[in-house]
């Protein structure tokens, strides 16, 4: 069953909330880069008040870690864009985050080293689990359905969205929120640089995106505006590459995966109007997409404008939906709007993970 994308929440260096982001994207703006320090060249979120998105839970935000606040903010923007999620009893929630709470983890360990076990703060430890953000969001919003947190590097964000879609297709849930979030910090910056030379050309970023997926019946019953359709997502692994810790330079199997995804969703290669790549300047990734489609398609330039992070697959799904819903929205800063009926979200990851998602126009 196709899942409808009926709301989009974005927290990005270009803006907070769908409307603010779209306005900045349409204007061709790029976020400012950090000038120096370990995160130099990266792009951070502007200051914002996460607690204001959850007026009934302001106090809880005092003890939350920054990543959990980012996750909850992205989900809150999706909630607001949908004017509420509807029935929450069996609403699924999936969060993708690769580095997760690594920054907080190193702070906790540094304190353990400096102060000893007796002075570890008991308020800190619960925030160190990668699913803390999903837990907070569930509590704040009363989400009682299935909840997963995915952490396989760059595939985690689009995989979170895919899990919700699979749950809907299986009849397990009628709706769910798929999201991805990451925070940029010293740990992430240093680890990413160590992981891949691409981070030099590809600025690091941070933020969150969340999309609400629903069955057509549920969306119709709510009177929801359908922005796009999530047609499906497929994963694979490539054993190529020198090390499991690095981004592979060869992407064996990706062409086949893209073709399989298009076939399974009944999407012709000619229908694809835009490609949203995890590493837009990766030659092997570009080549695989061109080979699979038999031509070059316009690619978004999100990496240069908001930076990239390992969980931005959810953001790319959200951006694909926005581009398909509004054909006047330019694909990249110098380009026109999307001219096809479908968008391809393609991800390659450290460790050899591959994922292809197909998003269709409403």
């Amino acid at each position: 069953m196709t899942a409808f994308i009926t709301s989009i929440g974005v927290l990005s260096p270009l803006g907070s909330g769908r409307e603010e982001f779209v306005e900045a994207w349409r204007a061709g703006r790029s976020a400012d880069r950090i000038g120096d320090g370990p995160e130099a060249g990266g792009v951070k979120l502007p200051k914002y008040k996460a607690a204001a998105l959850y007026p009934d839970h302001r106090k809880a935000f005092r003890r939350m870690d920054r990543l959990s606040k980012i996750i909850c903010s992205g989900i809150a923007h999706a909630r607001d864009d949908a004017a509420g999620f509807g029935d929450l009893e069996n609403l699924g929630l999936a969060v993708g985050t690769d580095y997760g709470t690594l920054t907080e983890t190193w702070k906790f360990l540094s304190r353990l080293k400096a102060k000893g076990p007796a002075l570890c703060n008991p308020m800190d430890f619960p925030n160190l689990v990668p699913n803390a953000g999903a837990g907070y969001a569930g509590i704040f919003l009363g989400l009682r359905g299935p909840s997963h947190t995915f952490c396989r590097h760059e595939t985690c964000g689009d995989e979170a969205v895919a899990w919700i879609a699979d749950g809907i297709a299986a009849g397990w849930i009628e709706a769910g929120v798929g999201s991805g979030a990451e925070e940029l910090g010293e740990t992430l910056a240093r680890a990413t640089r160590a992981a891949s030379g691409w981070s030099v050309a590809q600025p690091l970023g941070e933020g969150a995106a969340a999309v609400l997926l629903e069955t057509p019946d549920r969306a119709a019953a709510r009177g929801a505006e359908v922005r796009a359709r999530f047609l499906g997502s497929w994963g694979a692994s490539t054993p190529s590459g020198r090390s499991a810790l690095l981004l592979p330079d060869r992407l064996d199997g990706l062409v086949e995966l893209i073709r399989r995804s298009l076939d399974a969703t009944g999407t012709a290669a000619g229908d694809v109007g835009v490609a949203l790549l995890s590493h837009p300047d990766h030659p092997a990734l570009q080549a695989a997409v061109a080979t699979a489609l038999g031509r070059d398609v316009p690619r978004t330039d999100h990496h240069r404008r908001v930076g990239t992070h390992p969980a931005d697959g959810a953001f790319r799904v959200a951006l694909a939906a926005l581009l398909l819903a509004d054909r006047s929205l330019p694909v990249h800063a110098d380009g026109d709007g999307c001219r096809g009926r479908a968008a391809l979200v393609v991800t390659c990851a450290r460790g050899g993970g591959l994922r292809v998602s197909v998003v269709g126009a409403a």
């Binding site: 370990p38 800190d124 619960p126 569930g138 995915f150 952490c151 810790l245």
Partner: protein, 414 residues
């Protein structure tokens, strides 16, 4: 609907490395909890853990690795090594070689990944050294939890989908549920699922800071219980669609009939004391399986031995099963709490018990808590035949999961 069957499993646990040793230890009521010697734990409230002693690469594990083509390496850290050991045994148990995993999926639940090795570098760096300058980049790269999956996928030369789930203590139960979903939906005909976690100062210090740990062996469901004891280990399973398994003449060990996963939406670390979340997760697994509660013969509890968790889980069992007395035991009494790996290792315990005709015990249980109205199966394994069981995992974040598993001969009424 496609039937999901278990055709292989492997375990590395404090009470026994390998299925044979693990099953024997479980049945005897052995306890693998003892004083930590991986690091100096003398300054902590608790200095005990369920630690795997000695080299996990036992002669049997090495033989399994040779037979299946899985390379056991210590370079990738304890979490990965435990996972590789369990993977090799699971493949051998399934009669498979790593080359048979070409199109298979992989779902791994974990919390620690390379943290034990990376934290040692940080904590052992002299005070005035800059960790960021002196640390090897590979240490930073192995810390994200996804890397455990990377190592296993690479060891298996996997080309199918691979993922990491990190939902704290329900991680590997959710990985099993996800793998079953992949098979049911036709995405894969074969998957490797499970979890692995290693003992480290981060988790030990964290649970100590929360005052959730016991100074001695854990006593789940016992009135004298003082808290949990963390542990380490791994459990891996080969799941296949039944047609694929039968076509190659594989031995079918069990069926994964249903999976339930719910959010409590109550508190980040405390369970809903009414047991409603636990009951919803178990109920969802039974509905997914199409199995009535009266067919369930055993519940392998999450049973952490913390005061609140055990009461909430027992209440959840009562909510679901009413006045019926059903055996409910916690094998954490024998292994400690293996965090992200606990669900997989405990699923293996229940499965071994179902096959061999015994209920895994809550070892050390002696004194009834008036708030916990269950049959905890005290002492040693109790001889009993059962065809269907539930395996529970409840986690931080209010993430409650349950698997409904049956013997190969059981037929659900629907």
């Amino acid at each position: 609907m496609t039937s999901v069957v278990v055709t292989g499993m492997g375990v590395a646990a404090p009470v026994g490395v390998g299925l044979e040793a693990y099953g024997r230890g479980l049945r005897a009521g052995d306890c693998g909890v003892g004083t930590i010697d991986l690091f100096d734990a003398s300054a902590y409230r608790s200095s005990v853990a369920g630690q795997i002693r000695g080299d996990v690469r036992t002669p049997a594990v090495r033989a399994a690795a040779r037979a299946t083509g899985v390379r056991l390496t210590t370079r990738q850290g304890r979490t990965a090594l435990f996972g590789l050991a369990a993977l090799a045994e699971a493949l051998q148990d399934a009669g498979l070689h790593r080359d048979d995993l070409r199109d298979a999926g992989l779902a791994v639940g974990t919390c620690t990944a390379g943290t034990p090795e990376a934290e040692s570098e940080l904590l052992d760096t002299p005070e005035d050294d800059d960790f960021w300058v002196t640390a090897a980049p590979s240490l930073l790269l192995t810390t994200p939890v996804g890397t455990t999956t990377d190592f296993l996928a690479r060891a298996a030369r996997l080309r199918g989908p691979a993922t990491t789930i990190s939902t704290a203590c329900s991680s590997s139960t959710n990985a099993v549920g996800l793998g079953a979903m992949w098979i049911r939906s036709g995405r894969c005909s074969r998957v490797v699922v499970g979890g692995s976690d290693a003992l480290c100062r981060l988790t030990h210090a964290g649970f100590n800071s929360l005052s959730l740990v016991a100074p001695e062996r854990p006593l789940p469901f016992d009135a004298r219980r003082q808290g949990m004891v963390i542990g380490e280990g791994a459990g891996m399973f080969v799941l296949e669609d039944e047609a694929t398994a039968r076509a190659r003449g594989a031995r079918i060990r069990a069926r994964i009939l249903g999976f339930g996963n719910v959010a409590e939406a109550f508190h980040l670390v405390q369970p809903d004391p009414s047991g409603a979340g636990a009951a919803r997760a178990m109920g969802a697994a039974l509905r997914d399986a199409g199995v009535p509660p009266e067919h369930v013969g055993y519940v392998n509890a999450h049973g952490t031995a913390t005061p609140h968790n055990d009461v909430a889980e027992a209440r959840g069992v009562r909510r679901l099963f009413g006045s019926r007395d059903i055996p409910v035991s916690s094998t954490k009494s024998q292994t400690g709490h293996l965090l992200g790996a606990s669900g997989a290792v405990e699923l293996a315990a229940a499965l071994l018990g179902m096959e061999a005709g015994f209920l895994p015990p809550t070892a050390g249980w002696e004194e009834r808590d008036p708030d916990i109205d269950i049959d905890p199966v005290p002492g040693v394994g109790r001889d009993a035949a059962f065809d269907v069981f539930l395996s529970n995992s409840f986690a931080f974040g209010g993430n409650d999961s349950s698997l409904c598993v049956a013997s190969p001969d059981y037929e659900a009424p629907r």
